[in-house]
C-alpha cells in the first residue's frame, strides 16, 4: 500500500530543473509563461526547483553549445533516479538554425536519453504543458519499473 502511494504520487508532483544550453531565451520565456496565472502549471504540481538534486524532470533548451556540453552532462548526472529529460524547442532536437556551426553539438540524444521532445521554435505553452505532463507519466512508469 505504501509503495502504491509512492508510485501514485510520482506523477503528481514533478519538479522541474531547467538547463539553458545556449538557448536564445525564447523557450525559457515560454517555460516561465507556463507558471503564470494564465496557464498555471502548479495545478498539476509542477514546480521549478533550484538545484538538480531536487528535480524529477530536467528541461533542456538550446542547441547544446560546446561550452555548455560538459556542464550539461555533469548536471544531468547529479539528478537522482527516477528522472526524465525533456528537450524543449527544436534546438536540442536538431540544432535548428544553428546546425552546422562549429560551436554547436546538437542533437541532445547523443549525450543522454531524452524521454520527451517538445518541438517548435518556440513551442507554445500548451505544447510545453502537454510534454511535461507526458514526462510526468513516464516518471511514474520508471518508478514502477524500479520497484516491481
Amino acid at each position: 500500500m505504501f509503495n502504491k502511494l509512492i508510485n501514485d504520487s510520482a506523477s503528481k508532483s514533478p519538479w522541474l530543473y531547467h538547463i539553458n544550453s545556449g538557448s536564445c531565451n525564447g523557450c525559457d520565456i515560454e517555460l516561465v509563461a507556463c507558471l503564470t496565472p494564465r496557464y498555471d502549471a502548479e495545478r498539476f504540481g509542477f514546480k521549478l526547483a533550484g538545484t538538480p538534486r531536487h528535480a524529477d524532470i530536467v528541461v533542456v533548451s538550446g542547441p547544446v553549445t560546446s561550452q555548455s556540453k560538459e556542464r550539461l552532462i555533469r548536471t544531468l548526472a547529479q539528478v537522482p533516479e527516477p528522472k526524465c529529460v525533456v528537450s524543449l524547442g527544436s534546438c536540442p532536437k536538431s540544432g535548428n538554425v544553428f546546425k552546422g556551426s562549429y560551436s554547436v553539438e546538437a542533437p541532445l540524444d547523443d549525450y543522454c536519453h531524452v524521454d520527451v521532445s517538445v518541438a517548435g521554435c518556440t513551442p507554445k505553452p500548451e505544447a510545453i504543458m502537454e510534454g511535461l505532463y507526458k514526462a510526468a507519466l513516464i516518471l511514474k512508469e520508471k518508478r514502477e519499473a524500479m520497484h516491481k
Binding site: S13, D40, G50
Partner: protein
C-alpha cells in the same frame, strides 16, 4: 498505562502524526490561497502530501564531500524536536505535558529544527550551503529577540505578580479573562508575533536562507530523496507549530465546552493565522536582503514587543 498514554500523545494526537498530517494540509492551504490571490487555480490541497511521498520514492544521493551521519541525522533531529514541541502547546485546552517554565523549553526546541537545517546544510560541503546557513543563522538571531520579548510579555500578563512561565497558565488565564489578543496592551506583541511566525517558518519575504533563485535552496542544495522529504515535512510541521503557538498565546480563550469542538476551533484558528501572516505576506511582498531583515526585526518588531512588555510591566 502512563507509558501508553504518553506514547499516544507523542506519536499520535498532538505529537508526530497529527502535526505531520495537519502541517502538510496547512502547507496545501497556504499554496492554494497564494494561488488564488494570484488568480491561479493552484495545486490541490493534498499536493504537499504527494510531494512528500514522491520524495520518499526518490534516490537519496549523499555527495562524497558530505559527512554521512550529520547529513542523514539532521532531518531526523529536526523532526523529533518538532514532534515534541507540540506536546507543550495547549491544543484547545489540552496540554500533553506541562510544567513551570515550559515556555523556555518551547523556545529552545523551536530553534532545533533550524539548527538541524544548518548542521545538515553545513555537512553537505557546498559553498552555496555555506551562504545559506549563514543567512539562516542571522535570521534566527533576528527573530529570537522579538520572540523572547513577546513570550515575556505574555508570561507577565498571564502571571501577574506570580511567576507564570508556562503555557498552561496562559491557557488558564485566557479561559478566565478572555483572549490575550483583546487586551489592548498586548496588541503590539501580537503584531510582533505575527511577524515572527513567517520568519521562523521561512516563508516568502523572509526566506533569505532558502532563496532558490539566488543560492539554489541554500542549506538544502545537496539534499535529495527521503532526507529532503523529511526537511519538507519539517517545514510543514513548523508552519503548524508556529501558528498553533500564536493561537495558544493570543487566542486561547475560545472555549466551547466540548474537547472535540475546542480542537476544531484551534485548527480553524491555525488556518486563519496561517493565511494572515504567511499566505498574504507571501503574495504581496518580495524577498528581503539579509541585513535589512536583521535591522527590521531588531528595530521595528522588537520595538513593538518591547513596547508591549513595558506596558504590561506598568500594570496595564
Amino acid at each position: 498505562m502512563i507509558i501508553l498514554r504518553s506514547l499516544f500523545y507523542i506519536l499520535i494526537f498532538p505529537g508526530a502524526l497529527f502535526t505531520a498530517c495537519f502541517g502538510l494540509f496547512l502547507t496545501g492551504v497556504d499554496r492554494k490561497v497564494v494561488a488564488r490571490m494570484q488568480h491561479r487555480i493552484g495545486p490541490p490541497l493534498r499536493q504537499p502530501m504527494y510531494d512528500f511521498f514522491k520524495l520518499l520514492g526518490k534516490e537519496t544521493i549523499i555527495p562524497h564531500a558530505a559527512n554521512k551521519i550529520a547529513f542523514l541525522g539532521a532531518p531526523i533531529i529536526g523532526f523529533v524536536s518538532l514532534a515534541l514541541i507540540m506536546l507543550f502547546i495547549p491544543v484547545g485546552g489540552l496540554t500533553a505535558f506541562s510544567g513551570n517554565a515550559d515556555m523556555i523549553v518551547i523556545l529552545y526546541l523551536i530553534t532545533i529544527p533550524g539548527v538541524a537545517l544548518i548542521v545538515g546544510g553545513s555537512s553537505s560541503g557546498s559553498p552555496y550551503a555555506g551562504i545559506g546557513i549563514s543567512r539562516e543563522m542571522v535570521t534566527m538571531m533576528a527573530y529570537e529577540l522579538p520572540f523572547v520579548l513577546v513570550l515575556l510579555a505574555v508570561a507577565r500578563k498571564a502571571g501577574g505578580s506570580e511567576l507564570a512561565f508556562s503555557m498552561e497558565k496562559v491557557a488558564e488565564w485566557q479561559a478566565a479573562n478572555g483572549n490575550m489578543l483583546f487586551q489592548w496592551s498586548m496588541i503590539p506583541a501580537a503584531i510582533a508575533m505575527l511577524l515572527v511566525v513567517p520568519a521562523e517558518v521561512g516563508t516568502q519575504p523572509f526566506d533569505v536562507a532558502e532563496a532558490e533563485t539566488e543560492i539554489c535552496e541554500g542549506p538544502l542544495i545537496e539534499y535529495s530523496g527521503s532526507a529532503l522529504g523529511m526537511f519538507k515535512l519539517n517545514t510543514a510541521m513548523k508552519m503548524f507549530v508556529m501558528s498553533g503557538l500564536f493561537v495558544s498565546l493570543f487566542l486561547g480563550g475560545i472555549r466551547t465546552g466540548f474537547a472535540v469542538c475546542d480542537v476544531i476551533v484551534f485548527i480553524l484558528l491555525c488556518i486563519v493565522v496561517t493565511i494572515i501572516c504567511m499566505s498574504t505576506t507571501h503574495a504581496v511582498t518580495a524577498r528581503l536582503k539579509i541585513e535589512h531583515l536583521f535591522k527590521f526585526y531588531w528595530t521595528f518588531v522588537a520595538g513593538m514587543a518591547l513596547c508591549s512588555l513595558i506596558l504590561v510591566w506598568c500594570g496595564l
